[in-house]
Amino acid sequence: MKVIDIRKEGMDEVRKHENENLTITGCLGERYIGCGMRNGTIHVEGTPGNALGSYLDGGTIFVDGNAQDAAADTMNAGLLAIKGSAGDALAYGMRGGRVYVLGDTGYRTGVHMKAYKDNKSILVIGGRTGSFLGEYLAGGIIIVLGLGDEKKDITGYFCGNGMYAGTIYLRTDKVPLNLSEKLIKRNVEEDEKDRILRPIISDFAAAFSIPAKRCLEGSFIAIEADKSKSYSQLYAAV
């Protein structure tokens, strides 16, 4: 495996080897790592800069530490796994692939994520998120587990505001703070948990080598747009 010290060898060297098997060490805010990458595996050490894995089009990025803002922006395919936390605007306008964050994420996580035919965006967060989670959600699945924060609110304010498709699953029995009345909140039955959540969450747990059982413990609620109002009320809560 090729190892690049980004502070010494710079971003140009990273670009040259981006579609191979690569470890980048010593990151301190370097932007656009893995941006538009199609295949290959990047292992990132340190604190990568904004727009990590934006437009990612395949391959895998694994981050040991925390990511900053705008990671996985408009990502199309592949896997971005972050062992620490992520900043604001994670997975904005994501079109497909998987984003896994073991820690917390900032404001505006998964805004306007989409799904189309075989491309289905999947975003799993192990910790809690800031406000505006899944705002204007247009498709795909967002799962927030709130691991270790079971007694707290795990999403902040304005969760799912303006969403019109897709589903937000929360591992909690609490309704998010000031959830819009125009959204539907329902409890997730065992069957749906097995069919939809178990495969995704098992994959998430495997990526970080943690027990899937713990991530699936307890009850989940689902938040969706009210389909009966999809034409009269395109933007559910605005």
């Binding site: 990151c27 301190l28 805010g29 932007r31 340190g46 604190t47 800069g49 904004n50 925390n66 900053q68 803002d69 936390s85 900043g87 604001d88 917390d104 900032g106 404001y107 800031g130 406000s131 505006f132 902040g156 304010y157 703070l177 000031n178």
Partner: protein
């Protein structure tokens, strides 16, 4: 040279701050290193630093940092000061010539104290007396700009990238317990020396990443109370609002944060009855000081620092702690570069002020 549109400049301002709760004074080297990591967020049209605890030998005197466009402006200002203050010491602020900083004004520093009999006749306290004098200099003496005027603190700012500004002012020669820094990317106001951040009045300083959509409403409101916005940058108004709310209305910094980044009514409605009343009172009483639009700010003052985001959190802000030292920055990387193993690192929520102050030991120093 490539024109705008032919070249992509990916930026947004950068802010950074370090606060030592135990009063330990550290050199400006650390804050320079931190803000330099975010070089790409600025575009070279402004950088600056605020430092607290840097003038212990003159800590009882107001320290004035002043920019002059001409010797005439300096002479006029010195005559003005001489009539109203005892000037204990005056000198040019030492600078290092660097290639990347040009068109510097004359930069002077004064340590002053109000003339006792005039202060008594004015029936003002010394802070108000000094604030009024500096507002008058900025307002009426052509080509003179008071950059800072608090005790035991100072602002160092220029047009350039922040790390170059640090070199220019020999920032490594100063030692303070509290530092803030700013790298500027002006979007709708000119990049000029006095318009760089930090903005200050007395010991209160503000560095700001964002843009105030309520600027003109805020400006009109605060100018009714004797302030005057003439530095052509929206951040200036935040400084005066905070000075007015703390010094004249007696609000705490936390209450100030609940005025300028007031929670939405929908958010207030789900609070406890007591909290609802308190927050509603602040919103209604000081409605003209609600600041809308994106911002993350660091507010420095003697003995403390506040970090605050707008209530929608439209700008980035990261906080960290290591022992008695607290760090704030636009990007985590700018903290990691000076402290790679913090005890705690987190992103404060929108409208949630993080306020730090000197501990008992720090206060004694």
């Amino acid at each position: 040279m490539k024109k705008e549109g032919e070249v992509r400049i990916s930026s947004g301002c950068a802010i950074s701050g370090i606060f030592c709760r135990d009063g330990k004074r550290i050199s400006g080297e650390a804050i320079k290193k931190s803000i330099a990591v975010m070089h790409n967020r600025s575009n070279g049209l402004g950088g600056g630093f605020a430092a607290y605890g840097i003038y212990p030998q003159y800590k009882d005197y107001f320290a004035l940092h002043i920019f002059y466009d001409s010797q005439n402006a300096r002479e006029d200002t010195e005559r003005f000061l001489d009539k109203r203050f005892d000037i204990i010491n005056l000198s040019k602020i030492p600078v290092r010539q660097t290639q990347n900083i040009s068109d510097a004004p004359l930069i002077w520093r004064y340590f002053i104290t109000p003339l006792p009999h005039l202060l008594q006749d004015s029936q003002l306290d010394e802070n108000e007396y000094t604030a009024k004098a500096t507002i008058r200099i900025n307002n009426s003496i052509e080509g003179a700009y008071v950059v800072s005027c608090g005790k035991n603190m100072g602002v160092f700012k220029a047009v350039g990238y922040p790390e170059d500004v640090a070199d220019f002012y020999r920032i490594e020669d100063y030692e303070g317990y509290s530092w803030t820094a700013h790298g500027r990317y002006p979007t709708n106001t000119p990049g000029w020396w006095a318009g760089s951040h930090p903005f200050s009045l007395l010991d209160l300083t503000v560095v700001h990443n964002g843009e105030i959509s309520s600027y003109d409403a805020n400006r009109r409101a605060v100018e009714m109370y004797g302030y005057s916005c003439n530095l052509l940058t929206d951040t200036e108004v935040i400084t005066y609002i905070l000075d007015y709310l703390t010094r004249k209305q007696g609000l705490s910094m936390k209450e100030c944060s609940e005025v300028i980044a007031a929670p939405f009514w929908t958010t207030i409605s789900i609070k406890s009855e007591e909290e609802k009343n308190r927050l509603s009172y602040l919103r209604k009483m000081f409605s003209s000081f609600l600041i809308t639009g994106p911002f993350s700010i660091l507010v420095g003052f003697n003995g403390g620092m506040m970090a605050l985001n707008d209530r929608l959190k439209l700008r980035s802000l990261v906080a960290a702690e290591k022992g008695e030292t607290v760090y704030f920055s636009s990007e985590e990387a700018a903290i990691r570069v000076i402290e790679d193993n913090p005890d705690r690192i987190w992103a404060p929520r929108g409208g949630e002020a993080v306020i730090v102050g000197l501990n008992e030991r720090g206060k004694r120093i």
